[in-house]
């Protein structure tokens, strides 16, 4: 089973939910934790892993031999991302725009394009509290997060209970983290911003055919519009975490709720029980059947 914890809005409590769920379930289930928020991973603050392996993730950038190049422009025409341009007598390669697909090399009629590896970031793997932990670290200045997320997902143990902490937003990195999951837990807060971005996240999960459960964090602030929205859309609200000073204080010290408040351990365990009992069935069966395989999808 693969559970992706996601949200539209940042700072809603994805990592709180993902890490507490992992810690609550690890005693009785073969948990594997993947922090896919490769631009700003922070699950390690709570799970305190021992990192044993580091693996570089690269993309291939085109290198043009100016002597062989005839300036025909086939490469520039072929590139979906405008990452290579022939302007006047110059051939320009834009590293940041390049997605590393290699099409320019394929279409070059004179073999003037070779490919050179360029590091995007690293995957660090190890053990946290007895279960496997991995996170991706995108190098500073790099724009392309999805190759790291795909690499993290390539390390999934098919027998494990996978908990993925997704990046915020609804762009390509979030899609990469939700795609192929059995369930998306969408964490939101009961505010107009929370609702706005929840709607966007629901749209992403539904278009990927992934069932949804909503978790309301900081319950007690804002208004009831998130609850009304979920009711109208038939989306189950599977957990509420109150806006509470004690919870915030533990969080600010990097202490997980389930380690200090036994009732929260019980709540996360029963949440998982509810999820596996099939109480979360937001979408009809045929959409679930279209659930895309793990390694598909591109973009940034």
């Amino acid at each position: 089973m693969k559970i992706t914890v996601a949200s539209g809005k940042g700072g809603t409590g994805k990592t709180t939910v993902a890490t507490n769920l992992a810690l609550a379930l690890a005693d009785d289930h073969p948990v594997q934790f993947l922090d896919c928020d490769v631009e700003e991973p922070n699950a390690h603050i709570f799970l305190k892993p021992q990192i044993g392996q580091r693996k570089s993730v690269e993309k291939l950038l085109p290198k043009v031999d100016e002597h062989l190049c005839t300036r025909c422009g086939n490469c520039a025409e072929a590139c979906e991302f405008n990452a290579i341009a022939v302007i006047g007598k110059k051939v320009l390669v834009y590293n940041d725009l390049c997605h590393g697909c290699g099409l320019c090399k394929l279409v070059c009629p004179v073999g003037a394009i070779s490919e050179i590896p360029h590091e995007l970031g690293v995957i660090e793997s190890g053990t946290a509290r007895g279960f496997p932990f991995s996170h991706g670290l995108l190098n500073i200045g790099e724009a392309m997060a999805t190759p790291l997320i795909h690499e993290l997902k390539a390390g999934i143990d098919p027998e494990a209970l996978i908990i993925l902490d997704a990046p915020p937003g609804t762009g390509c990195p979030t899609i990469a983290a939700i795609q192929g999951a059995d369930l998306a837990l969408l964490v939101t807060e009961p505010t107009p911003f929370g609702l706005h971005d929840l709607r966007a996240a629901v749209g992403v999960a539904r278009s990927l055919g992934v069932p949804i459960g909503v978790i309301i964090n900081r319950d007690g602030i804002g208004d009831d519009r998130v609850e009304r929205y979920c009711e109208e859309e038939g989306i189950p609200i599977v957990l509420k975490i109150p806006f509470d000073r004690e919870i915030a204080q533990f969080y600010s010290r990097g202490v997980s709720l389930v380690d200090v408040l036994p009732e929260w351990r019980e709540r996360f365990i029963s949440l998982y029980g509810m999820l596996t009992a099939g109480l979360v069935s937001d979408i009809p069966g045929e959409r679930r059947a279209q659930n895309a395989p793990l390694q598909e999808g591109g973009g940034k």
Binding site: N82, I87, D96
Partner: protein, 117 residues
């Protein structure tokens, strides 16, 4: 001498489009002959600045008048041998007048961070 001006519409009376790569129109204009040729822009999701620089190069303009240019567009325009004048405002006709009077600063680097910022 052919100018390229970024505009919100196809005529000299339309407003300047402050973004280079994602401008609505590129107006190619020769002030001596009065020739005016408007090309609507259809930028893709990625690399709008690069694509726009290619359009300028392919249409033979060596002077660009716009609001600001991002880093990718700047590199492309330099390769095209174009001079870039930024900070244009008002209508296209206003901007051409300001350019002729030497009131627009010439960009010696990207004036924006890309994405129209």
């Amino acid at each position: 001498m052919r100018l390229c001006i970024t505009a919100k519409g196809p005529s000299l009376g339309d407003d300047i489009d402050l973004s280079f790569g994602r401008a609505a129109y590129f107006l190619f204009h020769d002030p001596k002959t009065g020739e005016l040729h408007a090309i609507p822009n259809s930028p893709g999701a990625h690399g709008a600045g690069v694509q726009a620089a290619r359009i300028v190069a392919e249409n033979g303009a060596k002077t660009v008048i716009t609001g600001s240019v991002g880093p990718n567009a700047y590199r492309g325009l330099v390769a095209a041998g174009a001079e870039i004048y930024v900070g244009a405002e008002g209508t296209v006709a206003d901007a051409i007048a300001a350019y002729k009077e030497g009131k627009l600063p010439r960009a010696d680097g990207p004036s924006g961070r890309g994405h129209g910022r």
